[in-house]
Amino acid sequence: MNDYSICIGGQAGEGINKAGLLIGRVLGLLGYHLYMYYDYPSLIRGGHNFAILRAAEDTIGAIQGKPEIVCALDQETVNRHGNGSLLIYDSDDCKGEGIGIPATTIIREEGGAPIARNTVLIGAFCRAAGIPPEILKEAIQKEFGGRADENQRLALRGYHAAEERMQIPIRTHDPLPMLAGNDAIALGLIRGGLDAYVSYPMTPSSSILHTMADLAQNTPVLVIHPENEIAVITMALGLSYAGKRVAVGTSGGGFCLMTEGVSLAGMAEQPVVIVMAMRPGPSTGMPTYSSQGDLGFVLHAGHGEFPRIVIAPGTTEEAYEWSARAVHLAWQFQVPVFVLSDKNLGEHPKSTSIDPAFAVPIASIRSPRGTYARYCNMPDGISFFYPPPLSGNVVKVNSYTHDDVGITTEDPDLAAASAVKQIRKGATIENEMAYYGCLRVDGREDAPVALICFGSTGEACREIGERLSLKVIRPIVLAPFPLAQFSDALAGVERMIVVEENATGQLDSLLRGYGIVSDRRIANVSGRPFFLDELELKVRGVMQ
């Protein structure tokens, strides 16, 4: 089984992310599935950035640990990641044991931009890994487009300055596009029927805003960046009221500001999709790292009681499909629907196979009779939803407790009816969600030990589950909790190990609320994902 890890590192501002993607292009053309971990501190210049590209024969969503091939633009990279089994380094800038390439000198001789040093090293990497120059040239053509010529020239200088040390075999598979979770979320929202995206920049959600703004050019899709997150959600609710399908995106601190709007969406029954990309908190925390510490927050955010749907995709494919469904579900049930993501899912590109025509259910259409009442009480708790103008009628929505027409009330019976309507709607949602596969099961079907996880930790758990012959159960929908599906999945399981990237065990607490009591917990609060080698050790540890 061919499985390679290649690290490229340097300072912020040296194009490390782009370099990682170029290595991905090369290995994608060789026919491998790819996953790229990108590690960068919250600064624009300096510091240490690195990307670890993993290439394997099957779909992957995690990295091993220590990379075996290291491409170093600076000494820090060698110091941190070691020489690996193969080191390629800029010999003008650092020392190591491997293939030294005078990349800085080459750039000077060729009159190239200093940022292109990484291209020189990647050229050298290709030679060292026995990758044909044609593949290198094609990858550069794809990655750089109009600026390909100069980069090809620089890469070939690197190529010819190196020597072959190993051979990564060519596989006959067409390359899949590399999408990060945030790309997949943006595309999924569009697939699901999104008309408008409203967001204020906040890492790690910002790249959804950037991608969406780019995609929206020359299309009718609206992308708006308002003054703050409070304006984001309330403006989105205005768009929703006026008949647009709308989503917002943010991270923890921004979501704190949004919560009064979440509660408004709940009371007004105004649909909206909220993408919440987690990073370590509390407060500013570590902006460019990852966490699963906001599960409890998202499950309960907003004052008062109202139904919601919380979806935590674990792969880029799921991010695409469930973001599309999120739009449908929000409008079908007129509730806030959350796509709960994090930096590890959102910002790490992976070879991804998505269907551009992925089918999303069509919201059922019901026609009101007589005078329109926005909150008309139906047996399933779901009223007719129409944007204004509605001929001969008015559409009144309200943040106060209201009657069926939408006028404020403090009448005890009407107040109770309003609350019951929300509860009834919640029950309807729970029933309807049974038609979806709300969780994913991997690993060995009849294993007595199960790893339980959610979101981006899923792929690391899946691989460890396969390695150690364990079952892996991962709920994708966390609210309403898919209790029946989860109970079915637990059949034959004797020991449960909950794996999550927070300190207090938020998924574990959620499960305990349903009487599902785990045996052990594995936590990670480093801001980094579970690396496979490390997770395997931890799982073995708790299994003893």
Partner: protein, 279 residues
């Protein structure tokens, strides 16, 4: 459609003598006079005494939350620019809790009409100072008097780029009708500050009756003269209080700029195929 048809069946709970009645009935008359249908109009409100207007008007309405009426109204306008969006806000609403949104709506020139029901006191929470209360205002949260000075909202709006700035008085229905009509017809962001009597907690009508006046021969297109008028009274002292349209200019609206070229169907599959083709 008759004005009365713009009034809903909801029971009205404003205090007797409240300036909100005049604002509500002026809006009703102006909409009727402009030939608008209730289904073509959206009243957006925040939270406070003013905000009950959302219940009391038989039009579309979005009864929002404190301070957030303006972004909701902005979203509604962008979602359907054919709707006439009137955003009622209180002084606590727009000048305290949601001041950022007011400034940005002016800066963007969003084509909505914002009416500030400025009674210079929190009425619904039974009498605390607001950003336009006079200096030393002794309310329930400041029994010894405030330790800060008021802001001059029309001046702030002028600095923020508002393209229509007007002031009305809740005991001058005729003048208010003229102002509101022009505000609704104005293409772009219309800011209407209404000095509103609060019959229960801050009845300043004697002061207003004495000081308000409508300037003769003022050209609202003249920014310098608008600025002079706006600064005649700073909400603190005794100065003369000019009413009417104080400033107006023509400028492209946020909706025009944002929605340009946004007509038609979205080719969803095409967008997705193009995006993955680049990866």
């Amino acid at each position: 459609m008759k004005g009365a048809e713009f009034i809903s069946h909801a029971q009205n709970t404003w205090c007797p003598g409240c300036g909100n009645f005049v604002i509500q009935h002026t809006i009703k008359d102006v909409l009727s006079g402009l030939g608008k249908l209730p289904e073509e109009v959206v009243i957006v409100s925040g939270i406070g005494c003013h905000a009950k207007i959302a219940d009391y008007m038989q039009t579309n309405s979005f009864y929002a939350i404190h301070g957030r009426g303006i972004p909701v109204a902005t979203g509604i306008h962008l979602g359907n620019p054919q709707l006439t969006v009137i955003c009622s806000a209180g002084d606590g609403d727009a000048y305290a809790e949601g001041l950022d949104h007011l400034i940005f709506a002016a800066k963007r020139n969003v084509d909505i009409t914002v009416i500030i029901h400025d009674n210079r006191v929190y009425g619904l929470t039974t009498g605390q100072y607001t950003p336009t209360s006079p200096p030393g205002f002794a309310g329930k949260s400041t029994p010894e008097g405030t330790h800060e000075d008021p802001i001059n909202p029309p001046d702030l709006m002028l600095a923020s780029g508002a393209t229509f700035i007007a002031r009305s008085y809740s005991r001058d229905k005729k003048g208010m009708a003229e102002v509101l009509k022009r505000a609704i017809l104005h293409k772009g962001f219309s800011f209407v500050e209404v000095l509103q009597v609060c019959a229960s907690f801050y009845d300043a009508h004697a002061c207003y009756d004495e000081h308000v006046y409508t300037p003769e021969g003022h050209d609202p297109a003249n920014r310098d003269s608008a600025e002079r008028l706006i600064r005649e009274w700073n909400y603190a002292g005794e100065g003369a209080i000019p009413l009417g349209v104080l400033y107006e200019r023509d400028a492209p609206t946020f909706g025009e700029r944002v929605l340009a070229g946004k007509e038609g169907e979205i080719d969803r599959t095409g967008i997705i195929e193009r995006a993955i083709g680049k990866r």
